[in-house]
Point group: C2
Chain length 334, copies 2
Amino acid sequence: MSGKVVAVAGATGVVGREMLRVLEDRNFPVKSIKLLASERSRGKTLKYRGEDLPVEVLSDDSFNGVDIALFSAGGGTSKRFAPSAAKAGCVVVDNSSAWRMDPGVPLVVPEVNPGDIQKHKGIIANPNCSTIQMVVVLKPLHDAARIKRVVVATYQAVSGAGSAALGELAGQTKALVEGRPYPPKIFPHQIAFNVIPQIPQSDAFTANGYTSEEMKMINETKKIMGDDSIMVTATTVRVPVHTGHSESVNVETEKKLTAGQARELLRKAPGVIVQDDPAAQLYPLAVNAAGQYDTFVGRIREDVSHPSALEMWVVADNLLKGAASNAVQIAELL
Amino acid sequence: MSGKVVAVAGATGVVGREMLRVLEDRNFPVKSIKLLASERSRGKTLKYRGEDLPVEVLSDDSFNGVDIALFSAGGGTSKRFAPSAAKAGCVVVDNSSAWRMDPGVPLVVPEVNPGDIQKHKGIIANPNCSTIQMVVVLKPLHDAARIKRVVVATYQAVSGAGSAALGELAGQTKALVEGRPYPPKIFPHQIAFNVIPQIPQSDAFTANGYTSEEMKMINETKKIMGDDSIMVTATTVRVPVHTGHSESVNVETEKKLTAGQARELLRKAPGVIVQDDPAAQLYPLAVNAAGQYDTFVGRIREDVSHPSALEMWVVADNLLKGAASNAVQIAELL
């Protein structure tokens, strides 16, 4: 296998570092790797396969000779540099929200809509973390029973907001345990020993009262599933967990599914692990999902409030399946 | 005012102590007070209005001459002692789940169904904490637009599981921050930096896959609202918060309410405070609700997935409105 020239833009961030780990771990055929970041990271090095590699400053010229560029450097950087990368002949897999709803850009979860990759014109978008783990579970249910409506409430980990946010949770937890104050800087309010019904931490709210994170779950789900008739509503909430997003998902289907039928469908679904044995207190947990590539589902039960709906609890590592490993899976399909 | 002879059963517990504080704080007309607890608390004293009062061991004879007994000593104790207390002529306000669904026992939230108190035969039940805060918000919406279905996911604080649970959160958080292990004893899994989709911590699951806490929200809501046609489904989740339950509540109504109409109805509702200014990042938070008697609601928006539904975020102090202050409010009405 000849291997690909791979660039990672935003390599020093929380997700960028996970991307390097995932490329190694999944034995992605890398011929050579290029680590790109902003001016702030000039002079830094990062380890890849035991070697210290220099971080280069991202520019329009960074992508000459690059086959695949994994972007995880924020929406502004993607908007600015993904087109020049694509023009240089490289395929961009972009983890930001910049291109996701662009009709010319496929939005891909490999277990759900791998075929959409073929339609790319140089840029493929990686969906929002909270959307990815939900759609891998929704897809087999939709295929079997047509989903009409989803009501989801999330319990999202702090690492989704980056490394400074993880620092704030650590520092604030320690301060509060020791009885010292620690005013929030990254989050709009105290995150230690609290939950915040606002994601992201700034410019969150849209005109209809939903946050942009909530609208991502609503709009991206329809695009990935390729079905605008699926109605979704979401409330996205930050919780003081390091890594691992949890979701309470209520799914109304046209055809009634029993809990047993849903479990059977999900057991056969790619990338999904059913953990559902209440008697043994077994259900997905954020602390167990952290570090795993799969999406975990449990607490599957027939909704007592509706003739044809299911309740379930869906958990995945927001940095891996929610970002880095989904992006690398897309690159594998290329 | 002559005042009442008041007994507090389970006085040394987290909720029992709050009851004493609330009786003081709300200037309840207490002629004398009797602190009751199990054998384990023999010899202890508790402060009431600056005085150290002895804790007596609860027995069938404890209630002679008592006017009102506030019970917060667990279901078994209530089942065992509430009838003898009622027989002794005292009115029991019981915070356990033992009597809530008994057709002969009123289940009361003073803002919602104060009239039901009249039907008591010696025992009045205080609803489950997560139910109380939800129904004070649902009631004005139901009166205006008839609620058809509620889909709720909760973010419940650790103090709802008692003082040993608070100790476990504190000890486990400290241990994990310092890199030491701290295996769970009270909770079925790690609670620090995690969320657990199981309440209560043991014997939680019922035959239909719901937990008993979830079934309480479903059944108690119908009883308190006096309307069995209200469909409810719930997922109840423990989060690493000390005090203050948060709830993501989706409400389908027969008559469409705009977000503005809902806000207006809720602003006029007793015991409810609307905190809803997304531009200012203002919405209810557990850390702010702790120590307050009211229920806070915000993030009120029209559900984009349904022609006639609302999304909202409801927060209250689970020890106060969720337990102690609701019980004292009932006692005030007696």
